[in-house]
Amino acid sequence: MDLAATILLNGLTLAALYFIVASGFSLIFGLMRVVNMAHGAMYLIAGYVGYAVFEPLYDRDVWYAWYVGLAAGVAFAAVFGALVQTLLLGWMQGQELRQALVTIGLSIIVADQLLATYGGTPRQFFAPDAIFGSTQVPGVGGYPTFRLVQIGVAVAVGLGLWLLLNRTKLGIMIRAGVDDRQMLGACGVNVPLVGVAVFALGAALAGLGGVIGATAQPLAQGADGRFLLISLVVVIVGGMGSVTGTALGAVLVGVAEQIGQAMFPTYSVILTFLIMVTVLALRPQGILGRA
């Protein structure tokens, strides 16, 4: 019983991280129809830049080191995302494959330059004292506090996205843009600017995932590919461009991964892909995706 609860909780905390990263991917795809293959690179860049800011502060032992690192990583990713959209992707709107190829080229360059700048040594943030240590969870026992915080952040991101999309003017524009870009432009909305905002937001979410993920587990080269693939699988399973679908996909993939690793470690990947193949066969647009 204890074991089952631990596996489930592990799965949910992992799903929380997956959701944070994949929601940005899903958001960008939903409005822009851009498959952002550099999403993993944005995760990586935020982790490294955040760490570069975090480390000297941590050495000086100030309590806000982690928060500043987090803010720096997220802000850098957001600016990077906005620049990518403005300089590279904006003027080839509608050419989906070409945009995907551009982001692939970009991710190769970014990953290689990060390797050149920061080297191959893994890095890990130390969470601030307030969210460090362990907490007693009924049915599980002592559990790392930070991983519980991870769930909290994911819930906050989900709620925030829902509020943003459903309760704000920007959200109305974004949703209108998903349905009909041209008509939205004809209504006097600066659609390219909305696009830049969405891209910055999506990249910021990848960056948030990058810093959170690099606190929970070491950050190293190759994390970009891993999180790009997780984002792909999560949105393929959950449905493209749907926040709820992304959450559902993240939970399915995260929990399945943990169950698989606990029950049949060397075959655990198969479980994830059985889910994906089943969804594709029955609902090619994803569980909650629109046709």
């Binding site: 050419q95 360059i109 493209m240 994906m276």
Partner: protein, 355 residues
């Protein structure tokens, strides 16, 4: 057009066949051997795998990123079943039986990929095939019993053909070149058969093809099977070339490399795959002289980005553009109009970008 191109391709093939004897006339002995074995041989092997992607993209409109994984399935099947591989997994068959088995496995994997991704198109297909390919990669990397995990399987030395040993660079070069030529002309023939025409119809308008009474799904799956066979040939050759196979050779990097080759060369004609793989291999080999050995990825990434931004139809497109510029031939107006009219913006792909 094609009938005009055929003598040229035959001439090119003849030059390539004679190249191991021509090169020493131009270069010092050591360098000539290096070019044949390490650059041209490798470029041809990767070109075959890239051509399976180009075939799907050019004639079916399917950009599948699973092709490197399918090549890996062929390589692993060979390594698992062939005698003498280390560690021994099954190791019962000679090369004469293991290679056909490997090709069969790759074809079956191609068919499976086609069936799984049957209901998705365009950019969705790209995502799904990438995810499937990476799923198989992760499985292979973590599975010890069959695939020997991270280390992979070594010592797949290749057969002796009529007393000629595959480890001889010259024999390998000609075997690879022969395979590539057969597959290349096979594709050019296949796309003129009814099957190939239906495939191109599916690329342009699947609903109309379905309305004409063709089984769109079956044709798609068959095309993936053909591509799987081609990738399998490349996988067998690359496994023999590398004297074994490890998960790294089918990972994300390798998958993206195949895509880069196809796109750099141009997704408009099967020959683009070989042009792309040659450019890639040359850049790979001489990155140290051009920029920095360790920063090869930045170099190839920049080249790739430049091609995608400037000439989405790759090196082939650059060539065509130069030819048009030199001959000052006006663009055929009817074709451009037809393209614009028949193309909804959401299905535009890189290769359809108007020149």
């Amino acid at each position: 057009m094609r009938s005009r191109a055929a003598p040229w391709s035959l001439l090119g093939l003849a030059v390539l066949l004679a190249l191991p004897w021509l090169l020493p006339q131009l270069l010092p002995q050591g360098q000539a051997q290096f070019w044949t074995a390490s650059i041209l041989g490798r470029a041809i092997v990767f070109g075959i795998i890239a051509m399976s992607l180009t075939f799907l993209a050019t004639y079916g409109g399917f950009v599948s990123l699973a092709q490197m994984m399918i090549a890996g399935i062929a390589g692993y099947t060979l390594a698992i079943f062939v005698e003498g591989a280390v560690p021994r997994v099954v190791g019962l068959l000679g090369y004469g039986a293991a290679i056909p088995l490997a090709l069969l496995a790759a074809t079956a994997m191609g068919i499976l990929m086609g069936a799984i991704s049957l209901r998705s198109r365009d950019i969705y297909l790209l995502m799904i095939t990438l995810a499937l390919g990476m799923g198989v990669f992760r499985f292979i990397e973590t599975n010890i019993a069959w695939f020997n995990g991270y280390e992979g399987i070594r010592n797949v030395v290749g057969p002796s053909l009529f007393g000629l040993d595959f480890r001889n660079a010259l024999v390998f070069y000609h075997a690879a070149l022969g395979t590539a030529a057969l597959l290349y002309f096979g594709i050019l023939y296949l796309v003129k058969t009814p099957f190939g025409l239906v495939l191109q119809g599916i690329r342009d308008n699947p609903r109309r093809v379905a309305a004409l009474g063709y089984a769109v799904g079956l044709h798609r799956i068959a095309a993936f099977g053909v591509a799987g066979f081609i990738a399998g040939c490349g996988g067998v050759l690359s496994t023999i070339y590398n004297i074994g196979i490890s998960p790294g050779s089918i990972g994300l990097g390798a998958t993206v490399n195949i895509l880069i080759m196809s796109v750099i060369g141009g997704l408009g004609h099967p020959i683009g795959a070989f042009i792309g793989s040659l450019i890639f291999t040359v850049l790979d080999t001489f990155a140290a002289t051009i920029y920095d050995r360790d920063r090869f990825n930045t170099l190839i990434g920049l080249a790739f980005l430049a091609i995608v931004l400037v000439s989405p139809d790759g090196a082939i497109g650059v060539g065509a553009r130069l030819r048009r510029l030199l001959t000052a031939q006006p663009r055929p107006a009817s074709r451009v109009c037809g393209e614009v009219r028949s193309r909804p913006p959401s299905t535009r792909t890189a290769k359809e970008e108007p020149p």
